[in-house]
Symmetry: C2
Subunit: 256 residues, 2 copies
Amino acid sequence: MPARPRGLTDGQAALFPLQRPSPPPSERSMETPLSNAFLFDLDGTLVDSVYQHVLAWREALDHEGIALSVWRIHRKIGMSGGLFTHQLLREIDKDVGPDMAERLRVLHAEAYQRLVHSVVPLPGASDLLKTLSEQNIPWAIATSGRMETAGANLKALGVDPDIATVVTRDQVQHAKPDPDLFVEAARRLDVPIERSIVVGDSIWDMLAAARCRALGVGFLSGGYGQNELERAGALRVYEDPGDLLHHLDEVASRSN
Amino acid sequence: MPARPRGLTDGQAALFPLQRPSPPPSERSMETPLSNAFLFDLDGTLVDSVYQHVLAWREALDHEGIALSVWRIHRKIGMSGGLFTHQLLREIDKDVGPDMAERLRVLHAEAYQRLVHSVVPLPGASDLLKTLSEQNIPWAIATSGRMETAGANLKALGVDPDIATVVTRDQVQHAKPDPDLFVEAARRLDVPIERSIVVGDSIWDMLAAARCRALGVGFLSGGYGQNELERAGALRVYEDPGDLLHHLDEVASRSN
């Protein structure tokens, strides 16, 4: 095994796990070294759907008589619907009961269904997933959406949830910024979460990555700025899936 | 006249023009000291209309068969329609002739008219303008929109363009990030541009402010992050008009 390159920080060394110093004999195993796994957020990361979600939430909130500036809604997208509602309403000092939370969830899903026809994959998304598969680098999708809204997005992306590894909000107890979705995705891929790279467009993805000791890689394609993503823990920030594909060697080790 | 407070940088001192050291005798005049003037952008700064503009541009571009990720459109909002089109299409290496530029402008205006019913003033916008008027601090609105799209926004805001000072795209040669709109607004208020404060939500407002030596104050209400605005020259960044009103003494000198 090659020595760890000189001058690498701990954070950088984590990008090159195969080049880490050998573990002490007691911790060595006979396993083949694993590659990193990629755990992708869906909305704003692989499909261009953030602005439709923003307007769908705006419509749902309006319907319940809750006036909120649109940028505040945008900044909360990527949380699960339940956390999203509670966090938003806490900002305006309004209490939301479980009945209203459920009504808002249903209203948002209905409004989003009317807009989903305009949702397309982000540039390079399909090529990126194809390239990872060809290089035997495991990948999964972990979304705070439920299958009722994620289904159409996966279809636009050409991903069959019966074949690919897809974890949705319905399948874990806590959603982002809790790390459960990514931890479950890594478990299904049989890759340690500490060797996984979480790729997302929102600061909630980056916070969740840090909380489970995965690495965070951010995309600008959800509308956040580079600095916001970096401050939330992103090690690298790319424009979109095509840009990550173009720079894949910066973060991925080939497994063979 | 009080001495300039110790420890102020040049940038900070510019916030307190009435506390600047006296000019040399040759430059002194008998004028009453002027207060600062506030020159406001409109969309995303006083009214919550950025996301409707984003989707209206998306619809216009789609209609012409131009596929662009929505975040790229969002990041260009606040430029004039003409510059916006050229800059966006340059990014995707596509040439746009004057015919297509004009078609896109019309398609955007039509799409925006269908969405404008959902546009409301941002929190505190009316109170802020009222407070400035009460304190005899001159203010104007300078927008890269034409009156055909700005009219409905001004109405939502309760501003009568026949009474207030409003400069639109139609009335100057170059739009943001050129500073013409703000320079013309200051001229109409009869306040030197160097004593004016440009308030906007986009980096184009901040760049235009720097180019004409006005001070830039940024709002988060258009969806840009604080760091992006600061890097484009914003001296202070507030959430929205209500937040600026709450902190008005940080940037405004009372005129009486």
